[in-house]
């Protein structure tokens, strides 16, 4: 009897939690018909926001991979004094409230900030430009990749790297042919998380870059700008972001399964046939 009651309680808890989590997402699609949603996407405000988001996040994502991957490899491979501190500093932006990130970016790169004078002298004005959006996304979303990449490289068996070296591969070839492919699953997951977080970025961007249509107004900012002007348009923007997030999540779940199958080879790094 008591067992039945316990099962009933836990079952109910699952239903409540699921219902609460799914309902707002579902509501976006139920409030207006799909046809109307698609119609609303073809609209200056939405298209501008889409373009700004794609451009700024594309640049920020590329920079994250380009700088984050070698940095993570070095941090993962070396044991040096203060290493724990370095890793913690990399993780700090993850737990920082977005508003703090925004004010911090202003204090560092803003016109009156720490580096403001230097940047001004160089003729660089960051405030309220697309470059500011890129910086905000880098600061907020980059650590998601960096942290995951450090963990992924740490998980690579050091004997693999040592074996590559004794087989005649220098540090660069060892990195490209052994470390990178063996860490690729973790790197991919980190990249997906970072991209999703970057596209959803709101707080730091609105403070540091503002919300100017066709300049700094990303999809997330456009939802906020539109929800009391044209609620249906805001819903259409929301629907776009839901679809994108679902795609990221799906990729993260499916790619590892697909990679594990023995028939697929990491083509990118496979040697061009031995003879």
């Amino acid at each position: 009897m008591r067992r039945a009651a316990f099962h009933a309680v836990t079952g109910l808890a699952v239903l409540v939690a699921l219902g609460f989590l799914v309902l707002p997402v579902l509501a976006i699609f139920l409030r207006v018909s799909p046809g109307e949603l698609i119609e609303r996407v073809d609209d200056r405000v939405v298209l501008d926001a889409l373009e700004v988001t794609a451009k700024t996040n594309g640049i920020a994502f590329a920079l994250t991979l380009l700088v984050g991957t070698p940095a993570a490899y070095l941090i993962a491979a070396r044991r040096f004094p203060g290493r724990a501190l370095v890793v913690t500093l990399c993780e700090l932006p993850l737990v920082l409230p977005p508003a703090v990130a925004g004010i911090g970016l202003l204090a560092a790169f803003g016109r009156l900030g720490l580096l403001g004078g230097t940047l001004d002298a160089l003729g660089v004005r960051l405030g309220f430009t697309q470059a500011a959006v890129v910086l905000a996304v880098l600061f907020v979303a980059g650590p998601f990749y960096l942290r995951q990449a450090i963990a992924a490289f740490e998980a690579v068996d050091p004997a693999m790297l040592a074996a590559a070296r004794t087989l005649g591969a220098g540090p660069a070839r060892t990195f490209a042919r052994v470390a990178l492919p063996l860490a690729s699953a973790g790197l991919g997951a980190g990249a997906a998380l970072s991209l999703a977080r970057g596209i959803g970025e709101f707080g730091a961007t609105v403070m540091f870059a503002g919300s100017l249509q066709s300049v700094t107004q990303t999809l997330s900012l456009a939802i906020y700008a539109q929800f009391d002007v044209d609620f249906t348009r805001a819903l259409a923007l929301g629907a776009l972001l839901v679809l994108f997030s679902a795609a990221v999540l799906l990729t993260m779940k499916v790619v590892p399964l697909w990679r594990r199958s023995p028939s697929t080879s990491p083509v990118l790094f496979a040697p061009s046939s031995s003879r």
Partner: protein, 362 residues
């Protein structure tokens, strides 16, 4: 054939590895307990660990020389290292693994190590023996001038060990490369190596051919590693010119070796005979006790009687109807009881210890 010369000091966690070794076109096995510093020797030769001092050279070329600030990176040393768990790249096929070491002789090596039919297989699909062959092929694809093997048999099950050992023995003979092999198994070392170095706490205690190690272990520690019985006792000379040893358990045995004070008595299992009663033969030493265990190893049977392990043929064991718990007498001759100094770190310093270390070069 360029000889490998190693003379290094390398700090480890609780002691310093200090070792000098010269390896020509032969196989030298380093045996000893885990943590003795065996693997560190291989890693230093391969360039994966930088010693504190000393030098490592191959022929005339210095791979490492602390005084001259030479330290070639691993990729510039012609050293083939086979890792303990083989460290095959899991994301590459067998063929890609071998080609990683060098592309010139891939097909030939796959053929030679009988893994050509597995060329496109991933390492995870291979058996232990196949993995070992792929690892060897990959190390040789580099065309190394030195071969280093780290516990090459440890990852294999008992069933395949024998066959793999015979194969490896033939390969090493054929290659004729300076080879250092690390193992904790004296039998592997004896089968594969021309010379065996017993290593403990970062030092080589004795370096000699396997036969010499068995015949004349420099101390009790070396003896225990060769698989011999080791009994502890107190020795004093008898009037007949023999040495009488009162064992810690109270029994008395005789030896033709001369010694006084605390000693280890080394008796090899094949010099111990088993009978129902003490026979009136030439054996002076008898231990009477119930059989504690019986282990069959092919056509041999290892019988434990009190502190002694004796080896008899399976046929004899059957004839004598040996079984656990049965009271028997284990006998060995005084000439088969070797007396060796004890390496007891808690005991008083013994003069014989100096002699024990003298066979180590350097």
């Amino acid at each position: 054939m360029a000889a490998l010369a190693v003379d290094i000091a390398c700090p480890l966690r609780s002691f310093e590895l200090a070792l000098a070794l010269e390896v020509g076109g032969e196989t030298v096995a380093l045996v000893g307990p885990s943590g003795a510093g065996k693997t560190t020797v291989l890693r230093a030769v391969a360039g994966l660990v930088r010693p504190r001092a000393g030098r490592i050279s191959l022929g005339g070329e210095a791979l490492f020389d602390a005084a001259r600030r030479i330290d070639l990176p691993p990729e510039r040393r012609r050293v083939g290292l086979v890792f303990q768990d083989y460290a095959l790249f899991p994301h590459m096929s067998v063929e890609q693994n071998v080609a990683f070491g060098g592309r010139e002789r891939v097909a030939e090596l796959l053929e030679r190590f009988r893994v050509a039919h597995l060329a496109s297989a991933r390492p995870e699909a291979l058996s232990g023996g196949e993995r070992q062959r792929v690892a060897l092929a990959r190390a040789l694809a580099r065309d190394p001038a030195v071969l280093l093997l780290d516990e090459p048999m440890a990852a294999l099950d008992a069933h395949t060990r024998g066959a793999v050992r015979a194969e490896l023995q033939e390969l090493l003979r054929e290659l004729g490369l300076p080879t250092i092999l690390v193992t904790h198994d004296f039998e592997d070392a004896a089968a594969l190596a021309d010379r065996v170095g017993v290593i403990a706490d970062g030092k080589i205690l004795q370096l000699a051919t396997p036969d010499e190690l068995v015949a004349a272990p420099s101390d009790a520690y070396v003896a225990s590693f060769t698989g011999a019985n080791l009994l502890h006792g107190f020795a004093r000379p008898t009037r007949e010119g023999l040495t009488e040893v009162v064992l810690d358990g109270g029994a008395v045995v005789f030896s033709t070796d001369r010694a006084e004070g605390r000693v280890g008595v080394v008796v090899y299992p094949w010099e111990v005979s088993i009978a129902h009663a003490a026979a009136a033969d030439s054996a002076l030493n008898h231990v009477s006790a119930p059989i504690a265990s019986i282990v069959t190893l092919g056509n041999r049977v290892r019988v434990r009687v009190g502190p002694l392990v004796g080896e008899v043929t399976a046929a004899s064991a059957e004839r004598l109807d040996l079984e656990r718990g049965r009271l028997v007498v284990a006998s060995f001759k005084a000439t088969g009881a070797r007396l060796v100094p004890l390496r007891d770190p808690s005991g008083p310093p013994e003069t014989v210890r100096e002699g024990a270390e003298s066979p180590a070069p350097g």
